[in-house]
């Protein structure tokens, strides 16, 4: 089965072509507008957030993907239907509907969050995650522990009550004058710092649930900076390292507790923040092997928003013939996972 997928839920415009028989997923094309260096296709403008930019980017991207104009080698079209920004979502959804209608191809509507979960199927490992699984989905907008009973059957067992982990990274970067979004820079500086230099709070760890809270940690960093203005670069690195340690500690500890309670066959780590090296290492060191669960990390290039993950998720809907009529599909900005 060859799947064309489209993802425009937020800042990125992305398409992919994925071929699979179910055991291995071959990403034939994976195009993300903001990553394309050849500005020529856009007349020099790098597409960004606005809907008209998604619109502007999509057709040149379909062009360079070399999909035949009649779509004859495509079997299924998958598109992100939500959650996300309504105006952005509509662009992808309407283009997917038009293609599905005129090519007469089955259309699958995919939940963006489900897409992130399925990004863990994209590793070139010959083993795929088996369910029941437990996924820590962690990004700029999400921090959730999802129990996956089987394909398409989810239970959100814990989530943030205020800020997402990625948001905390970006806001700490801003406080330290590292720009916005600067979460990645915080992580880089953390490598040069001492994670035990400052004792930042591990929010919600004392509570026996699977929820998170990062607003308090954000504020704790700000309060620390008010009392202890940064004087040296090493100082800054130590703050980054100590902050990162607090986030990673919290995420890992809660995930381990969830593994102990739910006994999943697989533990999955996905979402933009799952690219964080220290988090990946902590998962590898502390989680793989416990309770016979096997660990699957989303491959680095599929941690942030992309369309390949939408295609994988689309595949599992397609084999169940979970198709949707292109004439009636509408974007749903508030779509939830369950």
């Amino acid at each position: 089965m060859r799947i064309l997928s489209i993802e425009t839920s937020c800042d990125e415009t992305a398409i992919s072509v994925l071929k699979t028989g179910g055991s291995i997923f071959i990403v034939e094309k994976n195009i993300i507008a903001s990553q394309i260096k050849t500005h020529a296709v856009y007349g020099g403008v790098v597409p960004e957030i606005a809907a008209r930019e998604h619109m502007k980017a999509l057709f040149p991207m379909l062009e360079i993907s070399q999909i035949p104009r009649d779509g004859k080698n495509i079997d299924v079209i998958a598109v992100t239907v939500g959650p996300g920004l309504v105006v952005a979502l509509r662009v992808g959804v309407e283009v997917a509907k038009a293609l599905a209608y005129f090519w007469q191809k089955p259309l699958v509507a995919v939940n963006h969050l489900e897409g992130h979960i399925y990004s863990t199927f994209l590793s070139q490992d010959s083993f795929q995650p088996v369910f029941p699984g437990l996924c820590l989905l962690v990004s700029g907008g999400h921090t959730e522990l999802v129990f996956i009973k089987d394909h398409g059957i989810y239970e959100i067992i814990g989530s943030t009550r205020d800020d997402a982990a990625g948001e905390a990274f970006d806001k700490v970067a801003k406080m330290l004058g590292l720009g916005y979004p600067g979460g990645v820079i915080v992580a880089q500086k953390a490598k040069l710092g001492n994670p035990n230099a400052i004792k930042f709070p591990r929010p919600m760890l004392d509570q026996q649930n699977f929820d998170f809270s990062f607003a308090g940690l954000k504020t704790a960093v700000l309060m620390y900076l008010k009392k202890n203005p940064v004087t040296t670069e090493q100082n800054k690195n130590d703050i980054c390292a100590s902050f990162e340690a607090a986030v990673v500690d919290t995420l890992v500890t809660k995930t381990i507790r969830a593994v102990d309670q739910y006994h999943p066959a697989s533990v999955l780590l996905a979402g933009g923040v799952s690219a964080n090296e220290s988090l990946r290492l902590a998962f590898q060191n502390q989680i793989s092997g416990i309770a016979f669960s096997k660990l699957y990390l989303a491959p680095l290039k599929f941690t942030t928003d992309n369309a390949a993950m939408i295609a994988v998720s689309g595949y599992f809907h397609a084999i169940k013939h979970d198709f949707i009529n292109p004439l009636t599909l509408v974007a749903n900005p508030n779509l939830s996972l369950i």
Partner: protein, 153 residues
């Protein structure tokens, strides 16, 4: 109106009471530095409106919508917007916010409106500031009488 809060619980309690003063169709601006308590206040407001969902920071998602039933069991919408990570007002269009403004069945709260001039007529402006202690916050509330003024007033 001025209120000095000594804890996040106090801020929420004050917001629950303040929610009674707000009518549908209004737009509220929430200004103040990182961590000054805007989202915490909005969590209290949502509770005041009887919303059971967890109200999370919309900084990344830009806009979160919570449907709820009013006392007369009409369907209403609590719209929570955050302009923090945007770098121009034009990008706010992506959220479809203009489809919500002016609706009589929606009430809209916008964090970080001061980031740029928004072509929006605010009914209320609430300013949050850090107090002297770690857990004190000063909350200043102003009813903006002229509906013609766009931001900043």
């Amino acid at each position: 109106m001025f209120y000095l809060s000594h804890s996040s619980q106090e801020t929420k309690k004050f917001a629950i009471e303040f929610a009674l003063k707000l009518s549908m169709g209004t737009v509220v601006a929430l200004e103040g530095d990182l961590g000054s308590g805007k989202t915490t206040f909005v969590q209290g407001l949502a509770e005041g409106f009887g919303i059971k969902d967890i109200v999370r920071s919309p900084s990344f998602t830009l806009m979160n919508i919570y449907p709820f039933q009013s006392v007369d069991s009409e369907k209403h919408y609590f719209v929570h917007v955050d302009a923090y990570r945007l770098d121009s007002a034009a990008k706010l269009e992506e959220t479809g916010l203009d489809e919500w403004i002016g609706r009589k069945d929606a009430i809209i709260f916008i964090e970080w409106p001061e980031r740029f001039e928004l072509p929006i007529a605010f009914d209320w402006k609430i300013v949050f500031a850090y107090g002297d202690e770690e857990e004190t916050r000063e909350i200043l509330i102003r009813h903006l009488l002229s509906h013609k003024d766009s931001y900043p007033t």
